[in-house]
Amino acid sequence: MGGVKKIGEPKRLFSSTWSRYLLNVLSAALLCLALVYLSVSRAITPYTSSLIVQIGYNIILAVSLNLAAGFLGQLPLGHAGFMSVGAYAAALFTKSMDLPAMLEFPIAIALGGVVAFLFGIVIGLPALRLRGDYLAIITLGFAEIIRVIINNLEFTGGAIGLRGIPRHSTIAWSFVWVFVTIYAISTLIRSRHGRAILSIREDEIAAEASGISTTYYKVIAFAISAAFAGVAGGLYAHTTILLPSNFGFMKSAEILVMVVLGGLGSILGSVISATVLTILPELLRGFKEYRMIVYALVLILVMIFKPSGLCGRYDFSLGSGIDRVFAAIRAKILGKGGNAK
């Protein structure tokens, strides 16, 4: 639809910000209700619904890493570290509390996010003094240290893992948190602060010369990215047993694959690639061993032939999308060049 001709000034349905917000919230709520209805009415099996929850936290992981990698332009290789911090914080909270799930689960997830945010600040402050390769390595180092420490602590269950976490993660909750993540990160990017973050990606020295406090914005963006990794960790924790070995470098790299494949700097791309890369291995269950080989090959080939990823930096807006569809229909009805109105 990119090539639609501008027809005079057709009336746009969703020109104001609030109308777009309303549209987005309504359609998200409808989609959520539909999914919940399907799962309650047993139209989708528990297996499918657990897959949807999995897609949910993978989307959160990819979108949050995209904030640091795609929009801030740094390359953190320790996202799994923040995810593990959030996961353990949330899981330990629900395990120690005896509240109804409706109350304790959102608090646990938020707690996971807050703890990961704090870790993001503590790690980001020193780490972000470095850039490029060195930043990648130092975040990797921090994530490894987090993993080793979790592995050796008593209250985290050590290498045996943390068991008996209530299975609170439902489709509805994971949908809510995906929505919160995408909403928060996309509005952040479109705000004044977001422009500051993008300017650091384009040229850090020029950004600093223009009066942007690069340290502040780098640390904040990095910590917000970490916070949502913690949220995803919280969701993940309430589906399974937590094992420190699942949060190694491989996990960080897997998240990075999703972001790079979707396109650094495209939220839509991250959502699509996280979804596809979660479903694909399930479809290829017989080829589980070959899954990672395919992953690796895809990663290498994408880097060689299309380094910008699937979507590049393109992002989708529901409001203007609908407007463009209407504009196209109008153009069809009125015929070519029909400026009849």
Partner: protein
């Protein structure tokens, strides 16, 4: 006496780290890439020796050189296929490709050889009585071989024509090309050399630790990388020094603090070095031009 043993252990594992770190450092110096796949070349080297000796019954004196040859060809091949097309694109793409190659090698090994660890026979059994205990031959051989290789490498880089070409390319690729240096061949040679050193390190490492598995390269590689950063990435004496220091630190932590925390200490050293002297002990700082 125990201190002495810990230190000897430290020197042994440190020499292995140093050999691997040299590969990281040379490659970084010449193409400015953290070659994440380098650790997995160690794994490939180890499996190559194991496959030749256990499956094909090749004697050790033939298996080791063949495995070294195979590893260097693999290293060159990886550079030609995956890194060369990206030489002029963003550094982040190159780094992600390297991670991809590392994934690929690990998972290929997992499919071909299975995820279970395999036993690796010690190629240098026995030991010399030393201070009440036996000093294993492996330790002596490891330290000796590493020392010889490092001296040889220093001579190669400082005295020979190809060494001069390597230094020229790492200084300035374009100018080197204008001066008639064949940049592609020099880069290939560097990768081959680094991979050969990794294969030697694999043989030495596996002879004393007895087990090989598809993921063994990643931790070993990361630690060697830490060693390269500690010594100053891009600097060859730095890589050797860094390797020895990391080996000592790890061995002393294992002996006196806790064997579980050794990895955390190594990465802690990395973080402290990066924060206070990102160029490393012997590295040169790079100023950014505006």
């Amino acid at each position: 006496m125990t201190v002495l043993y810990q230190l000897i252990n430290g020197v042994q594992i440190g020499s292995i780290y140093a050999l691997v770190a040299l590969g990281y450092s040379m490659v970084y110096g010449i193409v400015r890439l953290i070659n994440f796949a380098h650790g997995d070349i160690i794994m490939v080297g180890a499996y190559a020796v194991w496959f030749l000796m256990v499956r094909l019954g090749v004697p050790a004196w033939a298996a080791v050189p063949l495995a070294i040859l195979f590893s260097s060809l693999l290293g060159m091949g990886i550079e030609k296929v995956a890194y060369k097309p990206l030489r002029n694109s963003a550094r982040i793409s190159l780094l992600i490709t390297a991670i991809g190659i590392s994934f690929l090698l690990q998972n290929l090994a997992q499919v071909v050889f299975g995820a279970d660890p395999r036993m690796f026979t010690n190629l240098f059994p026995g030991g010399i009585p030393f201070g009440g205990k036996d000093l294993p031959y492996v330790t002596v051989v490891t330290v000796a071989v590493s020392a010889v290789l490092m001296i040889g490498l220093s001579i190669l880089v400082s005295r020979t024509k190809i060494g001069k070409a390597m230094r020229a390319v790492s200084e300035d690729k374009d100018t080197a090309q204008l001066m008639g240096v064949n940049v592609n061949n020099t880069i290939s040679f560097t990768f081959a050399l680094g991979s050969a050193l990794a294969a030697v390190a694999a043989v030495l490492y596996c002879s004393s630790y007895a087990q090989i598995q598809p993921t063994m390269g990643s931790m070993l590689g990361l630690k060697a990388f830490v060693a390269a950063v500690l010594g100053g990435i891009g600097s060859m004496p730095g890589a050797m020094l860094g390797g020895l220091l990391i080996g000592m630190a790890e061995s002393l932590t294992k002996g006196y603090i806790s064997s579980k925390l050794a990895d955390a200490v190594v990465f802690g050293i990395l973080i402290v070095v990066l924060l206070f002297k990102p160029a490393g002990i012997l590295g040169r700082g790079v100023r950014e031009k505006v």
